[in-house]
Point group: C2
Chain length 432, copies 2
Amino acid sequence: MNGFDGMWGALAEVGRDRHTGGYRRDAWSEPDLALREWFAEEADRRGLSRYEDRNGNQWAWWGDPSAAPGVVTGSHLDSVRDGGAFDGPLGVVSAFAAVDELRARGVTTPPRPIGVVCFSDEEGARFGVPCVGSRLLTGVLDPARAAGLTDDAGDTLAEVLRRAGRDPSGLGRDDETLRRIGVFVELHVEQGRGLVETGAPVGVASAIWPHGRWRLDFAGRADHAGTTALADRDDPMLPYARAVLAAREIAERRGAVATFGRVRVAPGSANAIPSLVRAWLDARAPEEETVRGLVAELSAACPAEVVCESWTPVVEFDAVLRDRVAAVAGGLRGRFTGEPEILPGNVAEPSRAGGDWTEGRRDTPGGAPVLPTGAGHDAGVLAGAGVPSAMLFVRNPTGVSHSPEEFAEREDCHSGVTALTAVLEDLCGLLV
Amino acid sequence: MNGFDGMWGALAEVGRDRHTGGYRRDAWSEPDLALREWFAEEADRRGLSRYEDRNGNQWAWWGDPSAAPGVVTGSHLDSVRDGGAFDGPLGVVSAFAAVDELRARGVTTPPRPIGVVCFSDEEGARFGVPCVGSRLLTGVLDPARAAGLTDDAGDTLAEVLRRAGRDPSGLGRDDETLRRIGVFVELHVEQGRGLVETGAPVGVASAIWPHGRWRLDFAGRADHAGTTALADRDDPMLPYARAVLAAREIAERRGAVATFGRVRVAPGSANAIPSLVRAWLDARAPEEETVRGLVAELSAACPAEVVCESWTPVVEFDAVLRDRVAAVAGGLRGRFTGEPEILPGNVAEPSRAGGDWTEGRRDTPGGAPVLPTGAGHDAGVLAGAGVPSAMLFVRNPTGVSHSPEEFAEREDCHSGVTALTAVLEDLCGLLV
């Protein structure tokens, strides 16, 4: 059996770009198919009953989930382009390792079935929409819209699925699979430095910040870069530059984050004044009104057409489950025979995070730190669809994510497995 | 015979994009080959002896240029992407129209041969290097380097030439063709508003400003746009934005122009803080030291790696020829039987243009206005190679160029033909 380190090593080179050192694991690409094979092999090694659901999500069950809803853990194996090794795979590898740990402790049949899941296309790197697998499963994403999504080569998801031997006509909400999920716990590398400041290797998610994406079109007049006097120019690069600086200033003042990570310039020649600068703003904050206020203030301050391309409301994870997971993950074992003793009344009110992730924490004495995140996750999709869900975070010393430099200490990863094992034990009723 | 208006109408739809209304006449593309056919037909209609030289430039001669160097006029037919109708074609159409006008005045054999030229790939839209035809002709561009230039599809110029039935082994300096050019006069639409301010429909070039292109690399650290606290970010979009604003301020203060028309962002996802913003600065001014000073000041002020990708020194057109052309184009006909009477001593010193193109004018009383330009031209390449060269500009009411909105009034175009005809008459010795 491959332990954590063995599994980790087996994934290290799959889809890794030799030049950037980052991973390119687009959904349904060759590396993604190799990762699916790997998942199946690890499930088979453990004698778990596995299947792939109609939406491409992979499941491996210990026990029979058709008898009673189970305790599910896992994450995803695809990556953003030039992403790191941890975002996604850490949750899947830790899930298998936790199963191994429970067996090593002598558990032969868990009181409730335990499921390991790998959600399909979480990052949306190929088709532009994140969490495709969990959104289709829960019915949040329209299957016809999903089937028609296109990648850079112009191929639709439906075509890509067919080429991979899958049947796109099966896409869509899957109640049979959903009914098997009694509770979902996703372990994930932290993507900020909240845990670094607490000194704890493992934390628990309180909420996923609301976030949105806006397209800003700055229109100008194409003209010759050499012959057009400055006074005669209508150069949209200037208001775009002012908007970049304004967005940062407004975000700082309002306690939000704002990013311009994608820009298109037309006609895009070095010797032509642009006719159009199109830029995408990603904005997030603890409260929805903070994000909306930021965008309203920026829109008023700059001469751009502003179109909202996506909006995801705040996700507050189930408070009772959250505190129970935090207590167990922090080492407060065996205290939960019935209702959790740690109740929401014990935690502080959320404060404005102001771009400082530690401010939003609501800690349980003796438990793992509780903190919000600005990143979307499958656990957030499931929580939004009414599935009791929680997240464990593993400390990230630099906070860097979506980058080849993404990192977690091996010792912290092992602590993550230990915490996840304890949480599975608790949620299965093994802790008394 | 097609007159000016007929020729103009024949070109109107060649390579025109229906959506943008702009022209896409890349060198050696289908539209470019159609334009070459058009040139050949117009030459044949007039009984001119035509040939294409080893570098793809088309020539049509009235009289025998092997007997004595001739008076050459013309321009180019290719375009920037989504360019206007006038940049290039106006000079070629006016050249044929001027030949017609001379014949209408009864000239049967000009005392010196008159040549009409269409230079190949002036804009460099396809292979990234402008004035390929004139630079190869004069030996300024290394033929091996030219042959290896690649387009967006990865095809080399050599392959593209072969596909078009041309022999790339013939590329390079062509002394036989050069010897035929006694003097070159290029008529071109103005690309600024200098003539608008003088009230004259036609002007003459004094100089082409020195200009350069610099690549600025702003490096940062890729990171998650949602989870990375503002304080933990190394986002290169912010120093890029400050550089855009600084370049404008420095250009205004120093009397230059500066443009950021092309930007690439890596990884380029809306939800990722960029690891790299790569931007290209185009900077020009009347004096070389002004351009270099602008770039030095900007480089010192921003945390970017700055690499000079191209540098073109100032081109001062032959002063005697310039004033002679200005006098004739302005209507001072028949005064030049020997040396021009208008000598350089009659003109004011060039002043700093400060982005105001009219400041650099050196006018001859009674002659056409004389003004500098910030745009490169085949006439500048020839002048740099020692060929006596001059340029006529036709008024552009908005100054807009390299854009579908580029425009000149038909009446001003006709004035351009009249001026060019007079200049050809003079330079051929017909004016006494």
